[in-house]
Structure formats: C-alpha cells, structure tokens
C-alpha cells in the first residue's frame, strides 16, 4: 500500500476514443455473424452478413491494436504507479476466473449428460416411460448410437486418446515449461533466453493447433464424428473447439509478446504484459489436462 506521505498519483486518462470504437466493433461483429447464420439457415443468398462481420472484425482488431499501443506507451512514459499495475494483475486474474466459469458450463453439461441423461433416455432408474420413445436405444458411453439415428447419425468410431491427443498433451505441457523458462529470461535480464524460449512456445502452440486441425479432419472424414453426430460429438467438439479457440488467442498473445521482446520491451520489474499472456497460457494448459482426462481418456 502506498502511504500518504509517499503517495503516487493513480493515472486516470482524461478521456478515450477507444471504447466507443470497441463497442461498435463488437456490435458489428455479432450483428454480422447473426445475419450470416440466419441467411445460411434460411437459404438466402446474400453477403450482407459477411460484409458486416468483416467490418466489425477489422474495427475490433484495429481498436484493440490501438488500445494496447496506448497502454504500452503510457507504461513506457512511467505513468503507471505500482498500484495501477496491481489493478492490471487483479483484472487479469478475475478475467481468467470468468473464463474458468465459461468452461465449467460446458464441462458441467458433459458430466450431466454422461452421468444422468445417457441412462435416463434408456429408461434406467425411475425414468421408465422414456424408453418407449426409442426402444432400440441402448445406454452406452461414448454414445455412438444416439436415440434417434435418423436425425443424429452416430459416429463409427471415436478418437483414440493415446495417439494424437497424447501428442498434443505433451506439446502443451512442454509449452508451459518453455514459457516459464522465457519468463526466467526476463527476470535474469537475458533477452536471448527470453526470445528463444518464447519462440519455441509459439511453435509448440502452433503445432498443437495444426495437430488438432488434423484430428478434426480425421474425425469428420474417417470416423463420421461430427458436431451433428449426437451428444458425444456435440460435447467433444464444443469443449475441444472452445479450448482450441483459446489456444489460438493465447498463441496470438504470445506472438505479440515475442514481437515486443524483439523490440526490446520487458524488464525484470516491468513485464506484466508478458506475465498476463503466460498466465493465460497456463490456464489453457490446465483446461487441456481436464479435456484430456474427461473427454478423451474417460470418454473412450
């Protein structure tokens, strides 16, 4: 805590044009996406949604670029007190907590389906009458035989956890170590160590994404495992897909940090941007371990 005698002023910008652009950007993005989805569903041939979506995405990207530039510049101008930096630390921590809860909703859905619904649809327990709708259905997890196979054709097979998923586990867990070594590089003032380990982390992250992309391709092409193949495919792709989206975001963050490291940013006592990105990276790593155990290993 700063004492009253040595009080450092808390920096409050006078005003900012950034948030209104960010609001516009987020609005155009989702409005465009909504139109895209509805046009596709209605079979309307129009590119209105795509154009708005693209416009929104560009506005958002440009605004975020400008926003982070402003923050980095203000930090270099030494406008931020220790108290300000603690605000950023708290802010990032609570943001990650909100992400944890987002994944909790999808994990919760998986557990609920797995432990209750699969059996209940088959009339197990006191849910007797429900098996009269689909008498052919046999409760089984992974659900390769959805109750209504006409609407939801089940997968022929599911992903073997001990192939590509194991490889991806190794990739992602190693990347958590490499990002920590890069952090040590900052703390020791060793820029070469920082850049090399961070670059390796980025490569590991990108490799993970490529492997997962291949796994999805394999699932769709060879196994008939799709989003629409019943609840197993639903939970599988939603959980791993959202995780993949977060890995993508985390990789972008790390690439930005790599660029900043090459430009000479980050000192031992001033590297919050890097630390925030690495916390995020550790978070996606932990989520992956949950996925590997509950979706891949215990799912098969």
């Amino acid at each position: 805590m700063s004492t009253q005698d040595a009080y450092e002023e808390y920096y409050v910008p006078h005003n900012s044009k950034l948030p209104i652009f960010a609001s516009l950007g987020i609005f155009l993005t989702v409005f465009g996406m909504g139109n895209m989805f509805n046009e596709t569903k209605a079979g309307v041939d129009s590119v209105f949604g795509e154009i708005v979506f693209l416009l929104g995405g560009l506005t958002m990207a440009a605004t975020l670029w400008a926003w982070f530039s402003v923050v980095i510049r203000e930090n270099h101008q030494k406008l931020y007190s220790d108290q300000m930096n603690r605000s950023y630390v708290w802010g990032m921590s609570w943001f990650i907590f909100s992400e944890v809860m987002f994944f909790a909703a999808f994990f919760g859905a998986l557990f609920y389906v797995r432990f209750f619904v699969v059996d209940w649809i088959g009339g197990v327990g006191d849910r007797g009458p429900s098996d009269m709708i689909w008498p052919e259905y046999v409760p089984h997890w992974p659900m390769v035989n959805p109750p209504n196979p006409e609407l939801f054709p089940g997968p022929a097979e599911i992903i073997n956890p001990w192939g590509l998923p194991l490889l991806n586990t190794i990739l992602l867990v190693s990347s958590s170590f490499t990002v920590t070594l890069a952090h040590h590089g900052i703390k020791e003032g060793n820029r070469k160590k920082l850049v090399n380990w961070l670059a390796l982390t980025v490569i590991l992250g990108l490799t993970f994404l490529v492997v997962q992309g291949y796994e999805y391709y394999h699932a769709y092409q060879d196994l008939g495992l799709t989003l629409a193949s019943g609840i197993f495919g639903t939970t599988f792709f939603m959980l791993t897909g959202f995780h993949g989206a977060h890995v993508t975001l985390g990789t972008i963050m790390l690439i930005v940090m790599l660029g900043r490291a090459l430009k000479g940013h980050f000192e031992a006592d001033d590297c919050f941007g890097f630390e925030a990105a690495s916390w995020y990276w550790h978070f996606v790593d932990v989520v992956w371990l949950g996925l590997f155990i509950f979706v891949y290993v215990l799912g098969s």
């Binding site: 989702v30 708290w90 987002f102 609920y112 609840i231």
Partner: protein, 533 residues
C-alpha cells in the same frame, strides 16, 4: 486507426468535464459513466414498463382484445429481459460507479477506459434486442427464461440476435464487475480496511464476484442454443442424447445467483439509508457482511428449486428444498438487523427512508412467498402460476426498484448539489407504494386459484382481481413519470444541498462538497470513518 489513438496530456485529469455531447461518449470519469448508466437504466425501465402496461391492458378483461397471442408472448419475454438486464442491473452498476470510489476514497474506478467500454456496449446490445420486434417472425417469444426447445427448435429467427445481445450484455457485465472488484480490492484509501467499508461497497464486492462467476455460464448456455439452432448439435435434443432439462440446469445455475445480483446491492442501499434516518449506527454490521456472503454462497447450490416439476429425482427435490430454505436464515438476519436499527431510533421519514422502509416490508413479503414456493410438494401447485409472478415482482419491484429509487433520492443532492422537492418525492412514494401493492398483491390470489402465467386469456373466475391488478399497474406506471419530473427538476435547480445533506449521514461521500466535484480523492482522504451502515 491513428485517429483512435489519443494524445496524452499529463495534467488533463485535473480539468473539468469536456463540453458537448462527446463528453459522454469518450468519458472515463466514474461520475459521468454512473450518470450514463442511470439514465440508460431509466430509459429501459420506461421501455419495459410500456410493455408491462400492454400486458396488463390485455389482461384487464378475459378474452383477447388488444394484442394477438403471438405479440403477447413477445411482450412478456421482452419485458422480462429488458427489466432484468436493461433496467435493474445497469441501475446498480450506475450506483456503483457513482458511489464506490467516493465511499472508499478512490480517485476513480480502477480501469477507467474499460469502464466506458462496459457502458457503451449496452446501447448497442439493447438496440439489437429491441430491433427484433421488427424482424420477420417477431421478437423472442419464449419467455425471459428462454427454455429449450421453445427457444431452439421452435424459436423465431430473431433468436440468433437475442443470443448475441445476451453475449454483449454478458461481456459488459463481466467487465463492469471486474472493474468494481478491482476498485474495491486495490483502490481503497489507506486505512479503509475491509470491515470499515460501507455495506453498499461490501454488497457490491459480493455482487461483482457473483456476476463474474455466472455471466460466463449464461454465455455458455446461449452458445449451446446457438450451436443447436445453427450447427446441428444435440445439447437440448434428446434424440441426439442431449436433454432439454440440461438447459434448465445450466440456465438456473446462472439464474439463481442472478436474482441475488439484483438484490444484494439493494441490501447495501437500504443498509446505508436506514441508519441515516434512524440516526443510529447499523445494528450488527459484521453479521450483515457475513449474511451477504452466505446468501451469495447459497445462491450457487439451490438452482433446481426452479425446476421441481420438470422431473428431477426425489433426492434432488429434497436437497434443493432444504438448501433453499436455508437462505431464509441469512436473509432473516438482515431483516432483523434493519428493524433493530430502527428500534428506538429518532426516525424521520424523508422520501429515501419511506422507500427503504417499504423495501423492508414488501421485500419480506416477497421473501415469504419465496419460502412457500421452496416447499416442493406445494410448488407443484404454484409452479408457473401467477403466484410465482407475484413472488418475483414483490422482490424485484418494491425490492430492487424501490431500493434504486431510494438511492436516487438519497444521493441525488450529492450528485446535483440540489435538494429534490420533498412533497413531490413523498407523493411519488405513496403513489408507487399503493400502485405496486394493488398491482401485485391480487396476483397471489389468482395464482393460488390456478391462473397460469404467460397466457393472454384466462378463465372468468380470475376477472375481478385481474382488473384490480391492471388498474394498479397503470397507477404505478404513470407515477414514474412524476419520478422523471422530480429528477429533471432536481438536476436543473432547487434548494442548494449542504456537504452532509442529511443530518444523520455518515461516510466519506458526505465529506466532499455537493455537487461532488468532477474529480474526488485525487489524494486519499486522511480520516477514514468507522463503518456506520
């Protein structure tokens, strides 16, 4: 994008506000943003109120006379969504913006630019939501709880925009809450220990935690809907191995904490007002803090009491019944403490105090009907009847909304530097108090007699009480125009307010001039008062 990058002037933050409309668009000042939130909330209150009056006009008599059943469904849905996410929640965020920094001796909110972002998302989100009325197939028509498969397989196309509007509201709420939490944890003036914080700050700290915990779950459930609608997933479709009941579990895991999100800051407001006008310290400050925290904890483990009739296992019904009843304990502590604070106080009854006392009494009535609904076997009769409507309107209208109005009357002299017109304020209170009870009390009777909610027509035996209820609704609704008049009148002028405003007021916000200067506590205050309320 160079136009977006602002230039930095080191001394700017000592200046007053900018001139013109762009002040409000670009502002990073917590007081400006608080004002924006409050006006936005009032606009949504009127928008939601107009929809409520359409509903009540249709229900004035049995039969179908004013709106079609299709439009009626859209009105009930949008009324709920607009009031919950557009009126009540932003009003409390507005109050937090105005008050939390002043109460804890902070120069502003911790993340001022993000603060502006949290607000300005909302007008976009609600414009998109309101525009669904004009879309083909009409606005969302599946109730504000948007149960699947009504909201997936059988929804109008506008559901896609509803989903994205909810996403935007969620992003706004999460960023707003992160800001509140960080401000409270990191920007308290030296000496402002946690147990010296005003209860309004405490309840908002807990509310912000709840919001960060459950808004992502809401985002999750609408995302599942989006995938079911557009990408063929089977979350809520039993034919693919999913379950519509899964929707209800995930929704209410958000939804139950949500109702405390809408009431905890109200507890904080009432805990500030009653000590002031009873001229006594709040009775049992510590127990109030622990009770708020207990209510927040319990809110996570009682969600399925909204689902007693959907077919959950007996053990689940028993567990959720008893867990729900536990909430009455910390809530009872709070009501007891408010009454004990008034006990032997030298009370005066200015408008904020009238609203606060009405809150205690009428919120308690809503709490008791909640206890009735918690009893599983009894709920089988009450479920989806007007009794439920009466219950949650009692906790939301004379609960949350009255607390917001109490807060406006209580702090508006500090915000504007002018006293509001007391006789008019009291008139507004009595009209609202009478209107609210005429509207919602009869709904208990028709509900117990079996009138279902969300239906535009009803059997003849419910006619009398519905007519009474509709009359009350119009009385309450039009009384709010008086509120608007009083607020505008106070903003424009009036008897100058003193620094302390109220004889019995305590706390840092009453040590600064009225109106509060554009920047307060740029250096932290030296004297930190003991907790008072």
């Amino acid at each position: 994008m160079s136009a977006v990058i602002e230039e930095h002037h080191p001394d700017d933050h000592h200046h007053g506000p900018d001139k013109g409309i762009m002040r409000w668009v670009f502002t990073t000042n917590h007081k400006d943003i608080g004002t924006l939130y409050l006006w936005f909330s009032f606009a949504m209150f009127l928008f939601g109120g107009v929809m409520a009056l359409c509903i009540r006009a249709e229900l004035f008599q049995p039969g179908l006379q004013i709106v079609s059943p299709e439009l009626f469904n859209q009105l009930t849905t949008m009324h709920g969504l607009v009031m919950v996410f557009g009126a009540v929640m932003p009003a409390f965020v507005g109050l937090a913006n105005w008050l939390v920094p002043m109460m804890i001796g902070a120069p502003d909110m911790a993340l001022p630019r993000m603060n502006n972002y949290s607000f300005w998302i909302l007008p976009f989100a609600f414009s998109m939501l309101a525009s669904t009325f004009l879309m083909e197939g009409g606005a969302p028509n599946f109730g504000w709880t948007f149960y699947a498969p009504l909201s997936t397989d059988f929804a109008p196309p506008s559901v896609t925009f509803f989903i994205f509007a909810v996403h935007m509201m969620g992003i706004s709420s999460i960023m707003g809450s992160i800001n509140v939490i960080v401000t409270i944890l990191n920007l308290r003036a030296p000496g402002m220990t946690l147990m010296r914080m005003p209860l309004f700050v405490w309840t908002w700290l807990i509310t912000a935690y709840l919001l960060i915990a459950v808004m992502p779950v809401l985002a999750g459930v609408v995302t599942m809907m989006l995938m079911d609608i557009h990408f063929g997933t089977a979350f809520f479709n039993a034919g693919g191995g999913g379950d519509p009941v899964l929707f209800q579990h995930v929704f209410w895991f958000f939804g139950h904490p949500e109702v405390y999100i809408m009431i905890l800051p109200a507890f904080g407001v009432v805990s500030a007002i009653i000590p002031t006008f009873a001229r006594k310290k709040l009775f049992g400050y510590d127990s109030m803090v622990y009770a708020s925290a207990s209510i927040a904890f319990l809110s996570f483990i009682v969600w399925a009491h909204h689902m007693f009739t959907v077919g959950i296992p007996l053990a689940g019904e028993l567990y959720f019944m008893y867990a729900t009843m536990l909430i009455a304990v910390p809530t009872g502590v709070k009501v007891f403490n408010w009454v004990a604070t008034m006990w032997q106080g030298s009370m005066t009854f200015e408008t904020p105090m009238l609203f606060a006392i009405a809150f205690v009494i009428l919120f308690t009535i809503g709490g008791f009907s909640g206890l009735m609904l918690a009893i599983t076997p009894v709920d089988f009769q009450y479920h989806d009847t007007y009794f439920v409507v009466a219950h949650f309107h009692y906790v939301l209208v004379p609960g949350s909304v009255f607390a917001i109005m109490a807060a406006v009357y209580y702090w508006i002299p500090k915000w504007t530097g002018n006293m509001y017109n007391e006789p008019l304020g009291k008139t507004h209170f009595w009209l609202s108090f009478i209107g609210v009870n005429i509207t919602f009390f009869p709904q208990h009777f028709v509900g117990l007699a079996g009138m279902p909610r969300r239906i535009p027509d009803y059997a003849l035996q419910f006619a009398d009480w519905n007519m009474v209820s509709s009359c009350g609704a119009f009385l309450f609704g039009f009384s709010q125009l008086l509120f608007l008049f009083i607020v505008i009148q106070t903003v424009r002028g009036g008897k100058p307010a003193t620094e302390k405003v109220w004889e019995g007021a305590h706390g840092l916000e009453w040590t600064i001039p009225s109106p509060a200067p554009y920047h307060t506590f740029s250096t932290p205050p030296k004297e930190i008062p003991e907790a008072h309320g």
